[in-house]
Symmetry: C2
Subunit: 260 residues, 2 copies
């Protein structure tokens, strides 16, 4: 029942061999694999077959290839993202983006891209219940842990609501981050929803997150609502799948069903 009879192809077997050597410490984290020519000779197959085997390890995030240089064994552990905790972090004076990284004793860094007025994508506008051609404030960021990019996060706010909050228009939003600023201007977020997909990265995401085309990403569509269920922010996160572990908790819902 559990048996898989299929005699596996050479490149899969070779991928297993290499993975095994990594686990055994023969190719320790951070080190270079032997070149594909060397491996081909050692294992008695063509270089194309080795290349394909390495491709298996790449999609899993086990190794990282730099053209012209060689193939390096990865070492970063998965980062735990606790959804509820990260948005409570403003109490600690930290922005949501940095919570997870500093907890791992890694250096957190943020790259700021476009910050300013924009026409939001149609689905963002719909989610924010924006009418007509109302513009949005967009804040595009890229987060790093020890110089490895870990996440792209694009936040959108209805322009009219945040127009007068200068700190949201700057890179540094001040103590407590953007959530604290929303609270300041009278729109404290009280409810959140997230929708999580997995997909392959676009060419741009491959470039910005230093990913292969075959490495899946999480896409998290995050929405913050105020007390009267008004959507105040949409944030789209794109995160390399092999780097993250997502955590959620909730209580049993007091169902609307009739206990009568």
């Amino acid at each position: 029942m559990t048996e898989i009879a299929t005699p596996r192809s050479q490149y899969v077997q070779i991928a297993d061999i290499i993975r095994h050597r990594i686990e055994q410490g023969i190719y320790p984290p951070g080190s270079h694999l032997p070149s594909e020519d060397q491996l081909a000779q050692e294992l008695g197959v063509s270089r194309v077959t080795i290349n394909r085997a390495v491709g298996v390890l790449r999609s899993a995030g086990d190794v990282r290839v730099r053209r012209g240089t060689g193939t390096i064994v990865r070492s970063i552990p998965r980062i735990r993202r606790d959804a509820a905790a990260r948005y409570a972090a403003r109490e600690l004076g930290t922005g949501a983006g940095e919570v997870e990284i500093t907890r791992l004793n890694m250096r957190s860094r943020t790259d700021y891209g476009e910050i300013g007025q924009t026409t939001p994508p149609a689905d963002v506008a719909r989610t924010l219940r924006m009418r007509g051609n109302e513009p949005a404030l967009v804040r595009r960021r890229r987060f790093y842990a020890d110089d490895h990019p870990t996440q792209l996060a694009d936040s959108y706010y209805p322009w009219s609501l945040v127009e007068d909050c200068p700190q949201l228009h700057q890179a540094d939003t001040g103590r407590g981050g953007s959530l604290a600023r929303l609270t300041d201007i009278g729109y404290p977020p009280l409810r959140y929803s997230e929708d999580i997909d997995v997909r392959m990265p676009t060419p741009e995401e491959q470039h910005r997150l230093d990913l292969d085309a075959t490495q899946p990403v999480f896409q998290i569509w995050h929405v913050a609502y105020t007390h009267d269920d008004r959507p105040i922010e949409v944030c789209i996160h794109v995160m390399p799948g092999h780097l993250w572990s997502l955590h959620y908790e909730w209580d049993e819902q007091p169902t609307a069903g009739p206990p009568s």
Copy 2:
């Protein structure tokens, strides 16, 4: 900044062409792609290059290959999994596993594998705070939507707690599913936690979920707790990434921080 200068390789361009034709309806959902030989001739490249291009579409879940038969355009839309709602479904008399499928007007079916006493994996035993070699009740299921496998779900319960609940030892757990039974025997789940990873499927998972080796899966590690935070169930879900969209909602936490 957004520009990707890289002249893309032929197989990526060809993958784009084929994807475009699918979107245009030239290759409608459910239909066969032309054979790789035909495509190679039409596009003036070798069959290996076509094969690689098709590989790109396979990892994304856009097509499905059956050896000896051909390559078929997929059609299933993403299934939305609302974490909180599905566990409230016992009120409706439905098991958690079938909520999402029936909502899409698809036929839901469940395959039952092993149901009975077992030695749980070490991390499951730890999560359930089981001591020594206490056995567990395991329930292994596979869920389908319209005959497409959509999910593997292995649930574990501490044996001593569920020993006397005969319905949990059968395939059909009765109205409201296993959660209703836990409630019956005095352990109503009140809190849930889930941890979500993405990874490539094992050979067994590839086989049981009808997946390619390059198609990522969600792995959800689900834990149910009773009122006194006693873990009562661990369920490990493995789900094809391209089939699902995961949904979570929560309220702002009344932080322990000092508002004094």
